[in-house]
Symmetry: C2
Subunit: 655 residues, 2 copies
């Protein structure tokens, strides 16, 4: 099952040497000596400034999205879901503001640092972390930057921040201006970070003059900033004049206009007050009469932003647009759609979402088991300090992280306890109640209580499009207690551009072996093992219970590649494997989810909890691979045979 | 097979348990951590004694072949061709006798040591090197053994050898018996070598008695010998009695009967004299009357050997047969065919012949360029002391060995200068003469002089069966000066058991991208480059001349996998790649072959030599890969387009 996968950098840009006989660089050949990891996308590990340069060269405008850290843990869970959704439109990067009052550098799930880390590591988004320097010691700042680097963050937006009191006095030793912070980053961390600084199209409110403020901006760039994002503005001309003025004094780095789609009367007033900006009369004239009509204001805001962005893009001087989202989704997404910049590109570099942490850039194999829980896989492998050959599919050497931090917010269900009870049953009466929950999830039909089952402990989202192809078969087996949690159909050479199954560069072909993973009773397993003898060596299986009693026909515990791709001019890529060793770690997690997410919804000793506990203690986790990928999957036939054998046995007992 | 996996003290123990509960070693799970090299054939790296054990367990009788070192370099070239041919019938091992008078441990191309090394390293045959110890110092023997080990030899037949003079005196410090040699090997090299010793079914001629000789044999085994090969004999009963007697005194190792198919009157007499054996009367009675009829004697010899072998095999006490070939092919092959032991198994573990050197056992990728010259590839990479992940397809780090030792016997043409001149032309008059040689080779038609062209400098053998499928196309383009030296058709998922294209374990599928490699003129290359623009990115190309002027559209110098296989329960295997880096090394070799093998057939300054020299200096070496393997190859269309463009240009000039 392949989950929603967002593309970080929209394009498959690859530099081609032309036929005129250019010779290839030695650098790339050095990289290619690690030949088990073909460079599917030479871009994906590039620096942000390099990505910008390439997009500018090819005249391909981008967008970026600004978010602020949430106040609560459940707000964080929601924001991360938003990252996943908004990431699918292809932002070049997102940025997370720095909230000095919110313990921004801490390990709290709501801190700026943790939110940015989550965006990079778990959502695979190129991210810029804001950092303000006023009233901070050099040691504190260095500490933040060191931590950011350790977490895989690569980009900093260097800001002064507001003074704490009203009286502003320069500090001899400390940071007085963003320029000081830029210099500090460059002196302490050399060229490691890409640095962004803020530009003020109408001048900084505290600056003596517009001209002086431009000079300050030039100083920030000269100190080592790589690009500029501007404060918001309301007229395209304001930005375009600012841009010309910057260029006139020798500022050559990319300057990205900060766009603020008006989303409501109150938020506009608040922002204007905070930023000391004036809203142009022509806008106030439209808004004042409709100030109590939120929908109308939002509609106008979208219209106004689209118009302004069109002028900016048409000027040819704007390489990308930066959006102040206010953590909201609808307005910005709509503006981007109307501009034609929101592109849900089905072309994924790999079938799973790659992490944006540079440490993981060579990772190109994952076990299939965590397909629906990629954040858990990344979390549990975060301490692996190396991905030799990018091949961690077989995980016999490095240890998987424990599930001690089980309740870490990004592993939690997005749904409330109340919602979960409605979906999974306020009261369970038998194992069959559980079968029905699975069946409702598969069919997307309401359960007995009239609620749709939108997630299961092993699947935080609705069924993947690809799995939908198997819906009828899945429904049938779940009704009979084959509780499926992961599956993929076989694929025999679909184009890599296929909207559902495709991934990787153009002109390639992707393949899959059929895969099915489920919990089922020990009675079923006994019958299944008999049946599987008929399917040797076509079907590989691993069958394990919570105690670790394991049955398999895998030879020499070798991994089985179940997803692979063939591309022009590349080695074979095999990003998904069924790996016997990591399956044993996954087994622990998969069984634990019964208890942690489901059983604990119910009172201790309650019948409902006892039923889930019984399944946890007695069922087996089974995975099946049909190796004969060019033929129709035989896995359904395997299960049919199993049911037939069980029926024959039952009939025998009855007669 | 059902594996039990348990977690013990943080580590994984794997144990195979079927209904009978046999246990599996932990080694295999350790092995599988190197996940880029799937264990295609768990047997191939096994020790000889382990291979014997497995074959005995499965009741699968084997055969082995004994050869002696040749006297001349050209004899060596012929013997190596024989190894290749006789290796295809599936001997479990071959053995090479030790000729004390022939500088047996030297680097001479005819030495026992070098012939055994060639069999192991270049022909991929499990080999046993004989070693005699009489009149040798311990240091000399240790030197031989050390060298053998360094060369990748793993098995020694430990023999006493004949005393130099007629007077035999025990040496205090030296070796008096094979037992001493066995002890020495075990004490100096521990368990590294598998050791074979000789058994004498009628007693050693110098032994006091048959019983005493049996005791000596028991001593050799007790000293550490792994198996026994017997001296030749003429009656099955002789061997079977000997076998019973060995077992009776506690010799438990495998005992292989030495079979000598009578191949001629003189050779029989000589052998009998040498081995002090008596030929039974019933055989002499048949042979004497036909002693001048070689064919009749050979025919009888085959008949007699087959009859005797049948009795041996039917006894159920003989696990394998050892053949004294006298370096001849026909009689032994025929005996083996009649016994049903000669099996040209189309199932290859990889599409190319794997080397039997244990150092290379993890090698699983090779560049396609040396497909017709595998011995040259092995020779040039022999100093690579490591095959990390078995992946040397991309060769940017290790250096290829130079071609200084170009005339090394195993790189030489098998044909004489005279034969080559007949095939490649006594006198060349133009480039077209060269085109005709290539065309004759492709079509297997006689050339102008009435001779078939059986080889080319780049292809020591006739066209591969697979290439034959492309014959018509190849003929057409060679006639027009596209001088093809390597090609493979596309294959889109044929069963791994396919007799022509198949390789690897059963139940898998093999794939290929179409590949074509040729020399052609710079005019053709100019047109080809224009045409190739239309085939982006479907076709990858590398075009290079002898000076190294290189044109390619390969991205980032990455290798392109052109042969791969998908197997049950395995990772993907991709044994053949087009690797841009190694192509530059191959280029040197490919161009050099024009001069070394062809031009030098002719007088200095002769027109013939100048023509070859001109081609060497001015032609380009081109390789093309059609990445779209599911479609019919477009490479012929590419060449058609090139010819069309050239014709249009010529027409333009004419009109």
């Amino acid at each position: 099952m392949v989950n929603q996968v967002q593309r970080v950098d929209g394009s498959w840009q690859t530099s081609k040497s032309d036929s005129s006989g250019a010779s290839n660089s030695g650098e790339s050949s050095k990289e290619s000596s690690r030949c088990s990891t073909p460079l599917l996308d030479a871009d994906r590990s590039d620096r942000l400034r390099e990505k910008m340069r390439k997009r500018m060269e090819s005249g391909d405008p981008w967008f970026s999205l600004e978010f602020f850290p949430p106040r609560t843990a459940s707000g964080a869970v929601n924001l991360i879901s938003r990252f996943d959704r908004m990431g699918s439109g292809g932002p070049l990067f997102i940025d997370i503001t720095w909230h000095p009052a919110g313990d921004p550098g801490s390990n709290k799930e709501t801190s700026s640092m943790m939110i940015a880390s989550t965006a990079v590591n778990y959502c695979g988004l190129e991210s810029v972390l804001h950092l303000t320097c006023s009233n901070q010691s050099q040691e504190t700042i260095t500490g933040y930057l060191t931590k950011a680097k350790q977490l895989g963050l690569k980009n900093i937006m260097a800001l002064r921040g507001d003074p704490l009191g009203t009286d502003w006095e320069d500090e001899e030793e400390g940071f007085n201006y963003a320029t000081d912070l830029v210099k500090h980053i460059r002196s302490e961390f050399d060229d490691y970070f890409d640095i962004c600084v803020a530009g003020y199209p109408t001048g900084h409110p505290e600056a003596q003059s517009y001209a002086e403020d431009l000079q300050h901006l030039k100083e920030k760039v000269d100190a080592g900033a790589d690009f500029i994002i501007t404060q918001l503005f309301f007229r395209a001309d304001t930005f375009l004049k600012f841009l010309r003025d910057c260029r006139a004094i020798g500022i050559t780095v990319p300057i990205l206009p900060g766009v603020f789609p008006i989303q409501g009367y109150q938020s506009l007033r608040q922002l204007v007050k905070l930023s000391k900006l004036e809203v142009p009369e022509e806008i106030m004239e439209v808004i004042e009469p409709i100030k109590d009509n939120d929908a109308a204001i939002r509609s106008y805001g979208i219209h106004q932003a689209v118009e302004m962005c069109r002028v900016l893009l048409d000027s040819g001087a704007v390489p990308g647009l930066h959006f102040y989202t206010l953590n909201r989704e609808v307005a910005t997404t709509e503006v981007l759609r109307q501009l034609g910049l929101w592109i849900e590109d089905p072309r994924r570099p790999l079938p799973w979402a790659t992490s944006a942490n540079p440490k993981r850039k060579v990772e190109d194999v994952r076990p299939i088991f965590w397909a629906s829980r990629p954040k858990s896989y990344i979390y549990r492998t975060q301490d692996w300090d190396d991905f030799p050959n990018g091949r961690w599919g077989n995980s016999s050497s490095p240890a998987f992280g424990e599930l001690n931090d089980y309740y870490l917010f990004y592993l939690k269900s997005k749904s409330s306890k109340d919602a979960l009870l409605k979906m999974w049953g306020e009261e369970l009466t038998s194992e069959t109640s559980v079968f029905e929950v699975f069946t409702s999830y598969i069919t997307a039909q309401v359960n007995r209580g009239g609620h749709k089952v939108m997630c299961l402990p092993w699947n935080d989202d609705a069924l993947a499009t690809e799995t939908n192809l198997l819906k009828d078969e899945l429904e049938k087996v779940n009704r009979r207690g084959v509780l499926t949690i992961n599956s993929q159909p076989n694929i025999n050479g679909k184009p890599s551009s296929d909207p559902i199954a495709g991934w990787g560069p153009a002109g390639g072909y992707v393949f899959q072996k059929a895969y099915l993973e489920f919990f089922t009773s020990s009675e079923n397993v006994t019958a299944l093992l008999k049946v599987l003898k008929k399917y040797e060596p076509r079907v590989n299986y691993h069958i394990v219970n919570v105690q670790g009693h394991n049955m398999t026909n895998a030879q020499d515990m070798q991994p089985n590649a179940v997803t692979w791709g063939i591309f022009p001019g590349r080695e074979i890529v095999q990003p998904t494997v069924v790996d016997p060793v990591s399956f044993m770690y996954w087994k622990d997690e998969a069984f634990a989810l019964w208890i942690e997410q489901w059983a604990k919804l119910y009172e201790d000793e309650s019948p409902s909890r006892m039923i889930i506990k019984y399944i946890h203690d007695n069922y087996f986790l089974v995975n099946l691979v049909d190796n004969d990928f060019p033929l129709d999957s035989c896995l359904w036939q395997v299960l049919d045979d199993m049911f037939e054998l069980l029926d024959a046995f039952t009939d025998g007992l009855m007669s």
